[in-house]
């Protein structure tokens, strides 16, 4: 498990995917040999919460202890999740979309059309999923954090992550197994890597919601009663 006194550089050496987590906390690169605690202190990020995310990203069997929610500053949870959504919807998905559009133009129109359609549908679905969370789950969580009583509603986060990840993985299968070769093999391979990277990050994002967001909301609700 990562600790506050470890160098942030060592944490990233152990799991390079954590580099994606830093901008979501507003932590800039160029942190030299500073420890996790020092870097978090400089960026005004609660270090225990940041460690929770890093551990979840790295150790498959890590589950944050519900008891720790009482002592950890969880105020950055919603900003963190919102920043992740923003990264997916404003950076990765448009980037992948651009690749797909370009590759589709080099294909027989029928196949290009099928590919674009699948991706557009997927993007609508994932945008919709994020919107639901931002509109219903996050405000509810923030109200609970302030100590307001909130009418209990079912969370939107739980179900559909698996389906979204399945679709991304299906997309890679379609691209490299089933679509006939096209004139842009290098770009196609780049596309596959981009999708796989996104898929693995979204799986981690789903874990943050499953293992932190939902248990935390439940804990807050129990505390209110």
């Amino acid at each position: 498990m990562f600790t506050q006194r470890m160098k942030l550089a060592d944490v990233i050496a152990a799991n390079h995917n954590i580099i994606l987590v830093l901008p979501r906390f507003g932590i800039p690169l160029g942190f030299g040999e500073k420890s996790v605690k020092e870097v978090c202190g400089m960026a005004g990020v609660p270090v225990e919460f940041m460690l929770m995310i890093c551990n979840l990203y790295t150790f498959d069997d890590y589950i944050p202890d519900v008891e720790t929610f009482a002592s950890v500053d969880m105020s950055r949870l919603v900003p963190y999740l919102t920043a992740s959504h923003h990264y997916y919807t404003h950076e990765r998905l448009p980037h992948i979309g651009k690749h797909i559009k370009h590759i589709a133009t080099g294909m027989e129109p029928k196949y290009g059309q099928i590919l674009k359609q699948f991706y557009d549908d997927f993007r609508k679905e994932i945008n919709n999923h994020f919107l639901c969370e931002e509109r219903y789950d996050f405000p509810k969580l923030q109200a609970l954090q302030k100590g307001d009583m909130v009418r209990s509603t079912k969370s939107h986060s739980e179900k559909s992550h698996g389906l979204l990840v399945d679709k991304l993985n299906d997309l890679t299968q379609i691209v490299y197994k089933y679509l006939p070769g096209n004139g842009l093999p290098e770009e196609t391979m780049e596309l596959v890597f981009d999708i796989l990277q996104l898929s693995s990050d979204i799986q981690k994002h789903a874990l943050v919601e499953e293992k932190i967001l939902i248990p935390y909301m439940e804990w807050l609700e129990r505390r209110e009663r």
């Binding site: 069997d61 099928i114 590919l115 549908d121 399945d166 679709k167 299906d170 299968q173 379609i174 679509l179």
Partner: protein, 197 residues
């Protein structure tokens, strides 16, 4: 009769090594390799000694147990790794192992664990080695087309006059053969293969 299972014990205590060895040799069918008392050179030596089962004291692992275990299984993917426990071991380290041998267990409990492990390791490679037929059967193709059209399993069962259980088993095979799970993905597969008229 299957060939003997070779077991490597990596454990600092000679008493425990010898005890474990005696139990395994009494049971027969186990070929106990010369024990090692530390894990530092383990990964390098694995290819040469090629054990089927590694019984390892987790306290011998380095400060990055997960990575070390991963590199061990990478060196020898077919090998099962068991934790040999009698001291305090951190739970996140223990959870890296699928099987645990506790020296307070009886000999028969220990042997039962090993029989299970052998069964698992012997089954897996056979499964992977068989070249399966990845072409969809005619019936699977029928089911795929109806899935792609958006019908539920119940509707497909009615349409093809088969049980819903059979439909689900076809769907499972389709996903296994194509690697595609979502309905939208299967629809794309069907379109690319000109199955939708």
């Amino acid at each position: 009769m299957k060939s003997a299972v070779s077991v490597l014990i990596v454990e600092p205590s000679d008493i425990i090594c010898r005890g474990l060895r005696a139990i395994l040799e009494d049971a027969g069918n186990y070929n106990v390799l010369a024990p090692m008392h530390e894990a530092t050179m383990l990964a390098e030596r694995l290819p040469a000694i090629s054990p089927d089962i590694l019984i390892l004291n987790p306290t011998l692992l380095s400060s990055t147990p997960k990575q070390q275990l991963a590199s061990l299984s990478q060196m020898r993917p077919s090998m099962a790794i068991l934790a040999l426990v009698y001291q305090y071991v951190e739970s996140n380290v223990i959870s890296l192992f699928s099987h645990i041998v506790d020296i307070r267990q009886s000999s028969s409990e220990l042997l039962t664990t090993l029989v299970d492990v052998v069964a698992e390791t012997r089954n897996e490679p056979e499964k992977n080695d068989t070249i399966e037929n990845y072409e969809l059967s005619d019936r699977e193709t029928d089911v795929l087309v109806l899935v792609a059209k958006g019908l539920s399993s119940k509707e497909i069962a009615d349409r093809l006059s088969i049980s819903i259980h059979t439909v689900n088993s076809h769907r499972k095979n389709i996903t296994h053969k194509t690697g595609i799970k979502s309905v939208a993905g299967l629809a794309v597969y069907a379109m690319i293969h000109n199955l939708m008229e």
